[in-house]
Structure formats: structure tokens, C-alpha cells
């Protein structure tokens, strides 16, 4: 199902083939670091080719490819096209656009720093990266975010600019970061108007969880 203003088709993850369902885990319940149950996204944009990812602008300064750069640690089905990203990715891009305006310079998303499937081997517990609502930024303009001063300065800017954003504190312990800025908007589920009907119903959602 395709919105004429946006060139990517929205797919129901539950209708994808098994290999992809096992990777994307659509609608499944997983647990975050605090032990809270979190439901994974069910609806995804299907990206047919890398050329599409390069061409599609999610916002004036952020293209789709920047959110899907994952390395060999990503599950194999998501290292080839078509690729899938949760529909919330468009809202993440808009938030980043606002952040970029405030920073007044380029914002660079790190590899493995945009969407990561729940099967990405860097993931431990549920991470908003698997909702498409988190980004790891390693560089802003000419500033590398690999030290306390830079991480805290831009973390504060993110919190000030984006009231709902959470930025990991500087540090080397679990939940902290010392070589990039992690910003996320929580476990947001997005269901665009063009999303297919929930034809499997409530029972099916319970079944997959």
C-alpha cells in the first residue's frame, strides 16, 4: 500500500515471509533494561533497493540511507534488499531535522546507529533502535562526539530542542556512552494511515507475542 506522496510501500510485518518475520519480530513483546514489556513495531516501510534509500529524503537534510547503515552484525536477511524500517523512522528524521537546525551544522549518524533489527548482535535488551526511534551520532559539524564535553553539550541541546528526547549520559557504564551521542524518543509505534488493515485481529497479535 503506497501513499502517493511517499514512494515506499507500507507492509504488515506479520505478512512477510518467515525468515523476515523471525528477524523483524513484528508485534512481538520484548523486555527493556528495566524489565518493562515493549511491543515491537508491526508496520514497516519496504525499501526495494539501495538506490531508493539514497534517493528518498525523509527530511530536508536526512536521507533514508543514513538510518539503515548496518554492518555485518545485522541479521543476514536485513543485509540485503528489500530492507524494512519501522514507520516511525519518518518522525525520527523530523526530530533530527529540528535538532540539526538547533546545532546549525551537519549531523552524522553512525553506522549501526539508526535502525537495528531486534536480531542485530549489538542489541541486548529491547532498544529503541529496533523501533527506528533512536540514533547514535558520532560527529556534529567538525566535532567528534568522543569526549565528555561534546557529548554533554549536544545531549543538553537535544533535550532542550526536543522535549520528549532522551540522551544517554556520558560515562563508561551500562546505559552510558563515551564515544557517541545517543538520542531516542522512546518505544514509539507508528501506524500511518496507509497501513494495511489489522486483518489478523487481536487474537493474532496475542499469538505472535
Amino acid at each position: 500500500m503506497r501513499d502517493p506522496r511517499f514512494p515506499l510501500e507500507i507492509v504488515d510485518g506479520l505478512r512477510l515471509e518467515k525468515q523476515l518475520r523471525d528477524t523483524l519480530m513484528p508485534g512481538r513483546i520484548v523486555f527493556d533494561d528495566e524489565g518493562h514489556r515493549r511491543r515491537l513495531p508491526r508496520y514497516f516501510y519496504e525499501i526495494p533497493t539501495w538506490e531508493h534509500a539514497m534517493a528518498i529524503q525523509l527530511s530536508p537534510n536526512f536521507a533514508l540511507w543514513e538510518f539503515i547503515q548496518t554492518d555485518v552484525r545485522e541479521a543476514a536477511p536485513l543485509r540485503e534488499f528489500p530492507r524494512y524500517v519501522p514507520c516511525a523512522i519518518t518522525m525520527t528524521a523530523l526530530c533530527l531535522e529540528r535538532f540539526r537546525e538547533a546545532a546549525d551544522t551537519y549531523v552524522h549518524i553512525a553506522a549501526n546507529g539508526g535502525y537495528r533489527s531486534p536480531r542485530h548482535s549489538l542489541n541486548g535488551n529491547a532498544t529503541p533502535h529496533s523501533w527506528g526511534t533512536a540514533v547514535n551520532i558520532y560527529r556534529i559539524g567538525d566535532v567528534y562526539l568522543d569526549n565528555r564535553e561534546a557529548i554533554e553539550r549536544y545531549g543538553a541541546l537535544a533535550r532542550h530542542t526536543l522535549p520528549s528526547a532522551w540522551a544517554r549520559p556520558y560515562g563508561t557504564d551500562r546505559g552510558q556512552t563515551d564515544d557517541h551521542l545517543h538520542i531516542d524518543f522512546g518505544f514509539v509505534l507508528a501506524m500511518p494511515r496507509g497501513a494495511p488493515d489489522d486483518h489478523l485481529g487481536f487474537d493474532a497479535e496475542r499469538r505472535v507475542s
Binding site: 554492518d71 553506522a111 549501526n112 568522543d146 564515544d179
Partner: protein, 297 residues
């Protein structure tokens, strides 16, 4: 550049026993004159099947020669289908100490080249990282590749081929581990076993072996084993150097004969000079004994 596939049919005669005895004496003298704390040598000549060993079972800090073992681990992963050479890897300068998991980084100003440091935040291909690890001995790609494949994979690969004399315990630039004497170690015998495996195309497959050999042929530090050999002699090798250590180990291809495999490991006081010159002289001595040049002497 790959190894030549044809050789002359008249084989080099093996060195006479007295020539090998003389080589031992020459190394004794070299150790004294150079001021080295220790010089260990292992040689295996694939043409004559002659071996030469001097303190070949003595353990040394591996320095960057451990990168050959890591290369074997990377190709083990390729062989098992966990990676392909063009797999892409996130370049991130953050590693955990083997001591306690404390994070550490590879200092850019102490690394051999800046190419991989310039890619922090981006991705690079495994094959390119392997090239930087070997050809310029860059430490950042070394730790990235070791992090990716894991110590266990490297050790299992060494065990699978029954290579003893190589003990891998951590990545490079792990100062906390160094302070606690948790170090990678090698013997001259161990490095020769590993390099023979690659040179004789017995590591997983001839094709994968040749790929590893190509990387060793790309070595840019040429002031050890190759330095005093004739220009026509090609050498696929890996150097290693820290404050008290200078090593070089490789496969030497004299023209018109099969190659020989050599490891020259040396230990020094921190203020010693002439390390590379000593390795070059040792390499020259071995070359003279093993080649026809010596047979005609």
C-alpha cells in the same frame, strides 16, 4: 603478488651440515655484537625440507606478529561462512580491556596510518581492514577484526591446525593488560608453523591461503627480512615492534626456487638501536646459506 607457480626442475642442494653449524656461530656473534638480549630464529626451506632452529621455542612478546594469527581467525570466519571479504564493519574506536572490561581506545597518533581512524563512525570492508592490519600494521583495524571474530575463533583456528607457539590473549594497545603482563606471545617455531600453513596453501583452501599471502606480500615495512636480500627476492611478511621487541617473520621467494619460511625474533633493552639492521643481517645470513649462492661457496 601471488607466489610463482613454476620452479626450475634442478633443485637446490641442501646446505651442508657445517654450513648450518656456521650459521649458529654467526648468530651467536650477531647476538653479541648487536647487544640484543636474545635472538631466536626458525627456518623451514620448502625446497630442500631443511630446518634451522635457534632458540626457536623461546617465548617472546608477540608485538604485531600476532596479527598473522588474527588474519587466520578472520579467514576461518570467512571459510565457515560467517563473513565474506566484502562484509562491512562499523569502524568504532572503543574496545574493552582483557583485564576487567574497562574501555580503551587506540591512539591515532600512535597508529601506523590514519586511514582507518578517518573512517570512525562509518563502515569499511573486512578485506580493507585486513589489508591495513597487515600492510601498515595498523592497530585500529586489528582490534576491530579481533572484536568481530573473537579470541576464541582465532585460538580455535590455531588449534585446528595444531599450531603451538602462538598464544593470543588480547587485542593490541590494551595498556591495562600489558601492565598486568597479559600479553600475546609467540615463538619462532609457532610463527613458522603458521606461515608454512599459509605458504603451502593448507589454510582452509588454496584460494583463501593465497588471499592471506597477498596481504602479507603487501607489507610496507621493508627494513627487516627483505632489506639486505637481492631485489629480485620477494618477501611476504609481518613485522612486530614494541619498546623491547623487534620481530619479522615471513615467506621468502628467491628467484627460480621454492620459498623458505623464516621467523626472526629479537629482544632488546628499551634504548637499543640497530634492531632492524640486526634482523636484516640475520635474514641475509639465512639467505646465503639456503640459496645456491651458498652451495657454490
Amino acid at each position: 603478488m601471488p607466489a610463482p607457480t613454476t620452479h626450475r626442475t634442478i633443485f637446490t642442494p641442501p646446505p651442508r651440515p657445517e654450513a648450518l653449524d656456521a650459521l649458529h656461530l654467526r648468530f651467536d656473534a650477531l647476538e653479541r655484537s648487536s647487544g640484543a638480549r636474545a635472538i631466536a630464529v626458525a627456518v623451514y626451506d620448502t625446497e630442500t625440507e631443511v630446518s634451522f632452529r635457534r632458540h626457536a621455542e623461546r617465548w617472546f612478546h608477540a608485538a604485531s606478529t600476532i596479527k598473522v594469527a588474527i588474519l587466520l581467525g578472520v579467514y576461518a570466519s570467512i571459510h565457515h561462512g560467517w563473513l565474506v571479504p566484502h562484509s562491512r564493519l562499523h569502524v568504532r574506536n572503543r574496545f574493552r580491556s582483557a583485564v576487567d572490561g574497562h574501555p580503551f581506545r587506540v591512539a591515532a597518533d600512535r597508529d601506523a596510518n590514519s586511514a582507518v581512524h578517518d573512517a570512525v563512525g562509518k563502515m569499511m570492508r573486512v578485506s580493507d581492514l585486513a589489508l591495513h592490519m597487515i600492510a601498515t600494521s595498523s592497530n585500529l583495524p586489528t582490534n576491530l577484526l579481533l572484536d568481530l571474530v573473537g579470541l576464541d575463533t582465532v585460538q580455535r583456528a590455531l588449534d585446528e591446525f595444531r599450531i603451538d607457539g602462538i598464544d593470543i590473549r588480547r587485542g593490541v594497545e590494551d595498556e591495562r593488560a600489558f601492565e598486568r603482563n597479559i600479553n600475546n606471545r609467540v615463538t619462532a617455531d609457532g610463527l613458522v608453523q603458521l606461515l608454512r600453513l599459509i605458504a603451502e596453501e593448507r589454510s582452509y583452501s588454496p584460494d583463501l591461503s593465497r588471499q592471506m599471502l597477498d596481504l602479507l606480500h603487501a607489507q610496507e615495512f621493508r627494513n627487516g627480512i627483505p632489506a639486505r636480500l637481492p631485489a629480485a627476492v620477494r618477501v611476504a611478511h609481518k613485522t612486530g615492534e614494541i619498546s623491547t621487541i623487534a620481530h619479522d617473520a615471513g615467506v621468502v621467494y628467491p628467484p627460480d626456487r621454492k620459498p623458505y619460511v623464516v621467523a626472526i625474533l629479537t629482544e632488546w633493552s628499551p634504548d637499543a638501536s640497530a634492531r632492524k639492521a640486526t634482523i636484516a643481517e640475520a635474514s641475509r645470513a639465512i639467505y646465503e646459506v639456503l640459496t645456491a649462492e651458498n652451495a657454490n661457496a
